[in-house]
C-alpha cells in the first residue's frame, strides 16, 4: 500500500498532516469529514476548532488526546469532540509538533472498546499501519526531522511511503 503524506494545517505550534492511500482522490481526513458532515456537523466544527487551537496556540499536547489507542509506543491516539464525544478521529502524534490525522467515525455510547465497532477497528488498524510505515521511513532515513525539530521532511517534493 502506497501512502502519500500531505500537510493540511501549518501553525506556529504544530503541523497537521493526513494521508492519501494508493493515489485516492481524497485524503483519509477528507473522507472522515465527508462521512460525518451531514450527521455530526457541530462535532466536526469542534474538532476543527481544537485542531486550529493546537496548531496556533498550544501545540498538540498529550492531554488533549485519548492516548494509547494503538500498540505501546506507536503514538496512535484519538481526538474527540466536546462535549458529547460522539466522534473518534484516529491519528499518530509525534511530540507536540506533528500529528498525522487518519480517519475514524461515530463512537456510540453503548460501546466501551473500539473493537466493538467494525468501522472504528478498521480505521484504527489503518492508522497503526501508517504509524509503523512512518517509523520505518525514519529508520531508513527517508524521513527526517527539520533542523528546528518542528516538522518532518524528505528530499523528494512529495512524501510517499510504503506501508
Amino acid at each position: 500500500m502506497q501512502v502519500e503524506i500531505v500537510k493540511i494545517l501549518s501553525g506556529l505550534c504544530a503541523n497537521f498532516y493526513t494521508v492519501k492511500i494508493d493515489g485516492d482522490s481524497l485524503t483519509l481526513f477528507e473522507k472522515f469529514i465527508s462521512e460525518n458532515k451531514s450527521k455530526y456537523n457541530n462535532e466536526l466544527n469542534n474538532i476543527r476548532d481544537r485542531l486550529k487551537v493546537m496548531s496556533d496556540r498550544t501545540g498538540a499536547r498529550e492531554t488533549f488526546f485519548k492516548i494509547n489507542e494503538g500498540t505501546p509506543g506507536d503514538g496512535v491516539c484519538a481526538l474527540y469532540d466536546d462535549p458529547e464525544k460522539k466522534l473518534r478521529l484516529y491519528c499518530v502524534k509525534y511530540g507536540t509538533v506533528v500529528v498525522i490525522l487518519g480517519s475514524g467515525g461515530e463512537k456510540p455510547k453503548n460501546i466501551k472498546a473500539l473493537q466493538e465497532s467494525k468501522k472504528l477497528t478498521k480505521e484504527n488498524e489503518l492508522v497503526k499501519r501508517i504509524s509503523k510505515g512512518v517509523t520505518n521511513a525514519f529508520k531508513e532515513k527517508y524521513l527526517r526531522w527539520s533542523l528546528d525539530k518542528t516538522d518532518i521532511e524528505c528530499d523528494d517534493d512529495e512524501i510517499i511511503i510504503e506501508i
Partner: protein
Amino acid sequence: MEAKKKETKVYKSKILNDFFTINDTKAYKRTEKNMLLALRILKAMQTKKLNRIKFAEEMGVHPSVVTKWLSGTHHFTTETLFDIEEKLNICIINVVEPQQIETIVAYQIQVTQKCQPVLPQTMNYFNSDFKNILYQQNYQYGKR
C-alpha cells in the same frame, strides 16, 4: 554553510478549505479558552513537579478526573477552579475589582513677584530690614 529548511507545501482542496473556515467565532474562542485553561493548569502542575496521580491525590479526586480537567473539554465549576488555584498557587479567575487609583501629580510652581520695595521713611542703614531690601533688589537685577 547553513542548511536551508525545506518547507512542505500545504495541501489544498475544497473540502479542507470549507472545513477550516471558521464561521462561529464565539464557539472557536470558547474552545480556545477551554484549551488554554487546561494548558495553564498543566504548566502549573509541571512547575510544581506534580504528575497527574500526585495532583489527583492532593485534590482528593480520582486521576481520571484530572485527565478530564487537562483534556481542554471539561466544564469547570468555580469551586473546582478556586480549589485548583489554591493547590497550585496560581490565579485563574480574577475576582478582585480593580482599585480606583488616585493619581498624585506633583507640580513645581515658580512664582515671581515684581514689586517696588517700599522704603521706610527713615532709613537706618544698620537696620536688618533695609539690608534685606537691598539684597532683594540686587538679586532682582542679577547683581547678587
